[in-house]
């Protein structure tokens, strides 16, 4: 990939080497991050290396906009542009939600695919292709570019591919325990119910990031014994942090309501409002 020509907001500020260093050297050794490594890591997922020109259909949450992006054709293309266009057009027709066509290189927007194509050929001909199913996202302030499979959940990607282990698996992916909660663009979400492929352009925060930033919730949770076995604790802290960002001065009932979706089988519940309200006061909200 011709990194130099790609704006920062697309490539991130880290080199692929740095990225692999960050993402690949995980406990599990299931190295991640690049098409090559994904194919070689032997975890059985079918990965596609796409050397040629591609148009990537990125579908965001239901009801939201479907964005079709076209990337530059490469020299070793084995897929013809016609087929690609046909495929994309079909997708767009089915979903009927396409409103804009965004150039992945310079982010310029177009009303039609044809306009985007013309723009692309005129401005970016010969630039490096991108792979299919690539998401660019920020996790705990660090930017990542990942090729993901469509069925991967965000929890799976964080745990198994980025070795960010705090989104715990308690209920088994049913979305009923809150242990895998992460913050996505300021909202607490269940990472077991979010698809990794939906996370392009998103900013994710887990408890690792909250701890690294020295957020007072960490100390308050320890001081007040808000954990016993500790399995659900990251999910609670993440949820509490999102609450305090949204509402710096919550009442006890608001704290309870915010974390009511988090299950703690040791039942440390009485301690959580104490800790969260302490932090609210400490941060000047209360």
């Amino acid at each position: 990939m011709n990194k130099d020509k790609i704006p920062k907001n697309q490539s991130g500020e880290i080199s692929r080497r740095e990225f692999l260093k960050d993402a690949g050297l995980v406990v599990g050794g299931a190295a991640i991050g690049s098409t090559i490594l994904l194919a070689a890591c032997g975890d059985g997922e079918v990965t596609t290396t796409v050397p040629g020109p591609t148009q990537t259909v990125t579908t965001t949450a239901p009801g939201a906009t479907t964005t079709v992006t076209t990337t530059a054709p490469g020299e070793t293309s084995t897929v013809t542009t016609t087929e690609q266009v046909g495929e994309v057009t079909k997708t767009a027709t089915v979903t009927e939600t396409v409103s804009t066509f965004v150039c992945p290189i310079c982010s310029q927007e177009f009303d039609t695919l044809a306009a985007l194509k013309s723009h692309f050929e005129a401005e970016h001909a010969g630039e490096a292709p991108a792979a299919l199913n690539v998401v660019n996202l920020t996790v705990n302030g660090k930017q990542y570019e990942l090729q993901v499979e469509p069925e991967w959940t965000l929890q799976y990607m964080l745990r198994d591919k980025l070795a960010i282990l705090s989104p715990k698996d308690m209920c088994g992916g049913f979305g009923s325990c809150g242990s895998c909660t992460v913050i996505m663009d300021s909202r607490p979400i269940l990472s077991c119910l979010a698809l990794a492929i939906e996370c392009d352009g998103k900013s994710i925060e887990t408890v690792e990031g909250i701890a690294k930033a020295g957020h007072p919730l960490i100390e308050a949770y320890i001081r007040n014994h808000c954990m016993q076995c500790g399995y659900c604790t990251p999910g609670f802290i993440v949820t509490a942090k999102a609450l305090l960002e949204r509402n710096p001065n919550p009442t006890e009932d608001e704290v309870k309501e915010a974390i009511a979706g988090n299950l703690c089988r040791c039942t440390t519940y009485p301690q959580h409002p104490i800790a969260v309200l302490e932090v609210a006061r400490e941060l000047g909200g209360g």
Binding site: G44, M170, S176, A211, I218, I222, Y231, G261, C266, Y269
Partner: protein, 782 residues
Amino acid sequence: MAEHTYEDIPLGPDERTEFNVVGRRGILRYDGYPKASGEAMFTRDVYLPGMLYARVLASPYPHAKIKSIDTSKAKAYPGVEAVITYEDLEVISDTAYYEGELIGAAVCADTDQICVEALKLLDVEWEELPFVIDQEEALKPGAPLVRPDLSPDNNIALAGHFEAGDDVEKGFKEADLIIEDTIKWGSGSGGEGIIAHGGAEPWSCVTKWDGDILTLWISEQKGAWAQPKIAAVLGIPISKLNMRMGYLGYSGGHHHSNYLKPFYKGVAFASRAAKITHRPVKLQFSRRDEFNSIDMGLLCHVKVGVKNDGTVTALQKENIINGGSDPVLAYNWAATPLMSAHMEWFSGETKIPCILINSTSVWTDTPQTFAVRCELNHAAFAFGTVFDIVANELGMDSTEVALKNAARPEPSLKECLEDGKKAIGWDEKWHAPGTKKLPNGKYHGIGLYWSHEWGVGKTRTASAAVRICVDGSVEMVGSASDVGVAPNTTYAMILAEELGVRFEDVSFPYYQDPYGFRCMGPGGSVGLGTNSLPWEECGKRAKEALLERAALVLSEGLAKEVKAEELDIRDSVIYIKEEPATTLSVPDALRGTKCKIGKGLGEPGAKIGDPTDLQVCVSAGDTGGRTFEHLPAYYQAHFCEVEVDPETGHVEVTNIVNTSDVGKIIYPESCEGQQYGGSTMTWGRAITEEFVYDPTTGVQLNGNFLDYKMTTILDCGPVECILKETRVGDPEETGSYRLIGIGEDMATTVNTCISNAVCNAIGKRLTQPITPDKVLKALGKI
């Protein structure tokens, strides 16, 4: 009848009265930062390079035998590395005794998802067999036989007859009133009231072979017991099984590989798969797989003779206990000690002069019954209910009935009752059942539960070691799992206290190599009661050895003879008792003088000043290895208030007060955690938690966290925690700290307190869980 009585045993000459570390508030738990920051690695979080995944087949039928398995399609599925069936592995069964039982086959593949898919491709030919879920149905003539291999004639696993004191008929004759009633706990049809652990971390293990040594990361509560069992199952020497346990999600008695088949068989599958593939293998249970063990159900017909003053003269009980489907548990746990538990409680804890108890343990096609925090739920429920029934029938205050009948009411029970009554306002609030409606239109109820505290060092099988490093830091060596009771911090407080070092100088790392020493699992009834003993002893011996070395160093430095007996250590500073200004640091003491490693101190020709670690170990034998039959002298009394809405049937628990006499508090915040934690958790048992079975298929319908309803933060009212330290326990049983456990008690007992309060509110006794439909039926609304 109570044969032994406890008197206030004065503290012995060696027993501490002043504490430097123990009992101190504000000590930060070791596991706090790792758990809050996401650093703590649970077994689920272990990823090894090249690791494969495995999953086990679950039976879709409550009772069925596998006639054949065609594995070809599964084996051909991309990413599948191995398929192992009962034909390959002797320990694996081909017969399921409950729906969801993990039997027959396992697949091993590149990813967990491929395992899930490949399991569906196993072509299994099942022979469905007749089943029975309900324990009363199971006892009827002609009922399907659950375990014809073990009980060919009927579904009775075991029957026991227990008598204590005089003939019950004589006791009934002396009574002013005979009360008969039925008590049900987790024994209703269709799964009513059957509770499960609902542990936080679904069970996992990771197996990796190094030649003939197996390294096993495992979600295991009690490694000291599990290691011999797993080694036997795998057919390898114990010394070649390297078990790694550490952080463990709430397990509540569940993750016991020594007893529970799914776990040790899971290890068998995973280790075989690792052997075949020459790769590390992680075997994970799904949430549904976790519903593989339940609490024992009790159906109990009780006949009580009482005098008008509340004194019980005779008790007769006919118990039917659901023993589940597993022989090991039914014989070892559900049947013998647990059937006798009813007798143990009533005879050991009360003055009732005539007791007769018949218990029958029944096979059913339900999961293995086991300790669901804890194995005494049914005994505690029966105990707490009987005295409440007596109080209601006589129109008496139940705290008075408690004091009338307790074997050793003073000082422990009396103090607990007094403090608890005061905290909840019992004297102002108590009323006859069904007589108080609040201005908001709801019925008000108030309830009591009382019994002994439990959790003494019954099984003294823990060993431990301590290493004082040359820099003065102190490492504790003893593999143990965590479970959540801050065990390592608590043990470190004891060690620091005994050794005379600062708490901050002690560390107790998780995931230690087990070839050192094994603690009891802290989650297993007797954690602190057992483990406090070796750590206390370790501390004492290490202090002795440290002062010996300090004496040599000081003698040389001061050019006069200094004896170890003249020294003491406090806050990690060694000093001469007579001249406290003369001090020596721990690292300086460890520099030694004329010592040679392995030769002992003072040997001629040794190099001067070579620093050496100091190591001390204590084996299980050093602390006794005894088993006690007595019930301890410590009591607990719990109170709660409820409001029952007669229109919706909703029960709100508005207030709980826990009063627990733990003998000696080591880590106050952790004790309180067990109080509010257990109380709030058991709200679920009282109000919402139960299995739901489809009666026609025997399939458990709610094996997930959406439909098996546990307490959330919005459900339970506040809990007030009161801890008592009477220290009247027998040191033979409770160690020199005279302490007793607290982890199990609240979860096991407060649900009975809630039941009693609901009965006080509406005047009707309901079976748990007390769901709105039951309340409305009792009130004649539906």
